[in-house]
Amino acid sequence: MRFLARGGRSSKDRTSLRRHRAARPVLLLLSLFLVGATYAAVSPATESVADGAADAQLIAQGKALFSQNCASCHGLGGEGLAQQGAPALTNVGAAAVDFQVSTGRMPMANPLVQAPAKENTFTEDEIAALAAYVASLGQGPAIPTEDQYNPAGMSPEDVSRGGELFRTNCSACHNFKGAGGALPNGAVAPSLQNATPKQILEALRTGPGQMPIFAEGALPDENAKQVIAYIEQVNAVPAAGLSLGGLGPVAEGFWAWVAGIGSLVLFAVWIASRGARA
């Protein structure tokens, strides 16, 4: 620890510096920096770690946030706690964190049921810090960049190709226009209608909950972008009247009885109550 006290001070000063109140936190930060920097230097997942120095700061901030908000279930080092049903986060990557936190799913209130999407209370910077920290724990997909998910400027052929991919891979759980559907044991495939393109791509790459992972090799970014474009555009198609929730024939049958037969019975009562005035 001598290096802390360089600069011609006496050994007494050195000792007092060592015992200074700020010494421990500073030391901690520095050692974290050292770990982060070393990790960044040797880690293969370099794509999520662009700028070493800035990143180390981010990771440190992320770790602090993690200890406050995530560690009670996922463990201080993100190793997971089996008895809480919390998975290890050592290899989930930044994309998973960004998806789970930005959709409000994490931190979750009740670990026994599927995390519902809710209002996200973290700022973008906080999410980035959390993501950087979790990414620093191991490998995993990075947060996608805008050119990977932004569907602007796709041709109609691209979009209809996305529709085919969507119907083949997604609609079985998420319904034909992404309105969502039921899964066994109380789980649901959520609606995609409020998801952002970034979140959709992150979900594809990280497979949250019961969703399978669609890796880059199976579904290249180009195709993922087509799917995202289709989901956006199919929900922008104006309905031919009231869409009745977009749930298909169950809702239609309900309205046939309630609005159709219901109103016609009222008319029948009216007609029968009018006597003949011939």
């Binding site: 555009q233 009247g241 869409s243 309205w255 029968a272």
Partner: protein, 560 residues
């Protein structure tokens, strides 16, 4: 040469008949006479004054009839552009989100009707809503006939024709649902393909027969098209004609009341009253259907996409009238036998083919089963009030409850997502509910019927409440009752009550005796003549007080 036939001079056949000479007519009646001379228009005049009774529930069948007419009209429009072909093409129409997607001509032409034919989407939606209403109105009409006992002698055959119409309606609706060849209709066809294959021993053969080979093949849509626009509509038209002819022949039933008997009919003549009422109602039904077609989106096939056997969507359901079969299959445990080289798929056969068979057989046989239980061989033109046939009403409500449970099970995924419950919990609940809920429904319904009978008896014997609270000199309060009108008292007491069969010279089997006791059990005995006389005597004394009450300044004493 044969001998000339002997002539019988008395035979009336030998009388020479001269055709009627043309009549002297006014200029105005000319065309009418012209037609009458040729098709006997005047003879129809008797039927034109046919009397029909007036009640809203008698109009439910009319909704079905008018929906059918709307279906014929809109269906003709759709056939002009629909191409019943499974040839694969690349879509090049104006719906951009399916640009260049490979699909059948059937689906492409449905998209063209929706996006490129003027008014096509509206007509498609009217056609689909009218189909939903057609089956729904038939169901409502059937329930009305059931709960009022209108299926009894002499109308059993017309009831069976009605059951035939109902089952044809389901097939017709399903065929229409399948024609556009979208993802949902293809999934529905795959479902029926499974039903066909589940038939023991001949299933696979039957599948190949229907589909012309492996599912889906290229034949099923042209075949269903023929079924949908020719075969079933033809059968429906024939059955509807028979249904209406028998209605005219039997005359309509009517509600009991003073002057209404099993031998007469009270109401208004067909012409002009019902021509106006029914004609007006047709336009109301048409209007409501057009409004629904314009305001509510139905079957947005462009969102479902073309059928592709490798694809499926969450929320794949049939139209509502096939929902009970869907539900039965969804909740059925996975029972299957493997005997030798054969597979017996009870998991699909029992809830699919079995349940539909049970429903239609049960419906068709019910009039005969009830007549056998009650031993009732008389004609009925007066309707039963549902409360006066508690067991029948209970059976009906139990049947509806059972159907409803299967129906809800058919939407178990929608229930799970919309009400945030577990899909598995809904399924397990329904497995029990389809057996338990009908029993509960029967018990509760019968109790309600008996309570209503008791209320009727109370009303006959003690009159109706006068709504006037009287305070007597001692400070007590009481409400006097007003005696019923003769007409109402008659209406409430005229019905025959079901009685248990007693072996009276004729042999009655034990099962039949038990069932007939069950059917008649628990009835609240109608007030006897002596009881009514006693109550009137009592009421006369009360009435004395009542007069006083009226004098005290109320004019509502005889409001009832």
């Amino acid at each position: 040469m044969a001998k000339p036939a002997e002539l019988n001079p008395d035979s009336p056949a030998l009388e020479v008949k001269t055709p009627p000479t043309s009549r002297e007519t006014s200029k105005l009646a000319g065309p009418v006479t012209w037609v009458d001379d040729r098709i006997g228009l005047a003879k129809l005049a008797g039927n034109i004054r046919k009397v029909f009774p007036d009640h809203w529930s008698f109009l439910l069948g009319e909704i079905a009839l008018y929906s059918f007419i709307i279906l014929l009209l809109t269906g003709v429009f759709l056939t002009i552009w629909f191409k019943p072909s499974m040839a694969e093409i690349e879509y090049a129409g104006s719906y951009a989100l399916l640009r260049d997607v490979r699909m059948s001509e059937a689906f492409a032409s449905t998209l063209n009707i929706s996006f490129d034919i003027r008014g096509g989407l509206l007509v498609r939606q009217i056609h689909h809503w009218a189909a939903m209403l057609f089956v729904a109105a038939m169901t409502a009409h059937m329930l009305r006939v059931f709960f009022t006992g209108a299926f009894r002698k002499p109308r059993e055959l017309n009831w069976i024709i009605g059951v035939g119409l109902f089952s044809m309606g389901l097939v017709e609706g399903f065929a229409g649902y399948s024609l556009p060849d979208d993802l949902l209709s293809g999934t529905g066809l795959r479902f029926v393909d499974g039903l066909i294959r589940s038939i023991p021993l001949i299933g696979t053969w039957a599948e190949f027969f229907v589909f012309g080979g492996e599912f889906p093949g290229t034949l099923i849509i042209p075949r269903l098209y023929m079924v949908h626009i020719l075969l079933i509509p033809g059968l429906l038209l024939g059955l509807i004609s028979a249904h209406m002819a028998l209605l005219v022949y039997h005359k309509h039933t009517h509600w009991p009341g003073p002057g209404r008997t099993n031998r007469n009919i009270q109401g208004y003549p067909f012409f002009p009253i019902y021509v106006a009422k029914a004609g007006g109602f047709f336009f109301i039904v048409f209007g409501v259907t057009v409004l629904m077609g314009a305001v509510f989106q139905i079957n947005p096939v462009w969102l479902y996409g073309p059928y592709n056997p490798s694809q499926v969507t969450a929320g794949s359901q049939p139209d509502w009238y096939m929902g009970f079969v869907e539900g039965a299959i969804r909740i059925m445990p996975n029972w299957e036998w493997h005997l030798g080289h054969t597979t017996w798929s009870w998991n699909v056969f029992l809830p699919g083919v079995g349940l539909m068979g049970l429903l239609f057989t049960g419906l068709a046989l019910y009039p005969f089963i009830e007549a056998w239980i009650t031993g009732d061989t008389s004609e009925h033109h007066l309707l039963d009030r549902p409360r006066n046939a508690p067991v029948r009403t209970g059976i009906g409500v139990a049947g509806m409850a059972c159907y409803a449970m299967f129906w809800l099970a058919g939407g178990n995924d929608i229930l799970a997502t919309q009400f945030h419950v577990s899909l598995n919990a809904v399924t397990y609940f329904m497995r029990v509910a389809v057996f338990v809920v009908p029993v509960l429904a029967f018990i509760v319904t019968k109790r309600i019927c008996l309570s209503l009978q008791r209320a009727d008896k109370e009303r006959v014997l003690h009159g109706s409440e006068s709504n006037i609270i009287v305070r007597n000199p001692e400070g007590g309060f009481s409400e006097a009752h007003v005696p019923l009108s003769q007409e109402e008292a008659y209406t409430l007491t005229r019905h025959p009550q079901p009685k248990a069969l007693v072996p009276n010279g004729v042999k009655v089997g034990r099962v039949r005796q038990t069932l007939s006791r069950w059917y008649a059990d628990g009835q609240v005995p109608k007030p006897t003549a002596a009881e009514v006389a006693e109550a009137e005597h009592h009421g006369a004394i009360e009435g004395g007080e009542g007069d006083e009450r009226v004098l005290e300044g109320s004019d509502s004493g005889d409001a009832h």
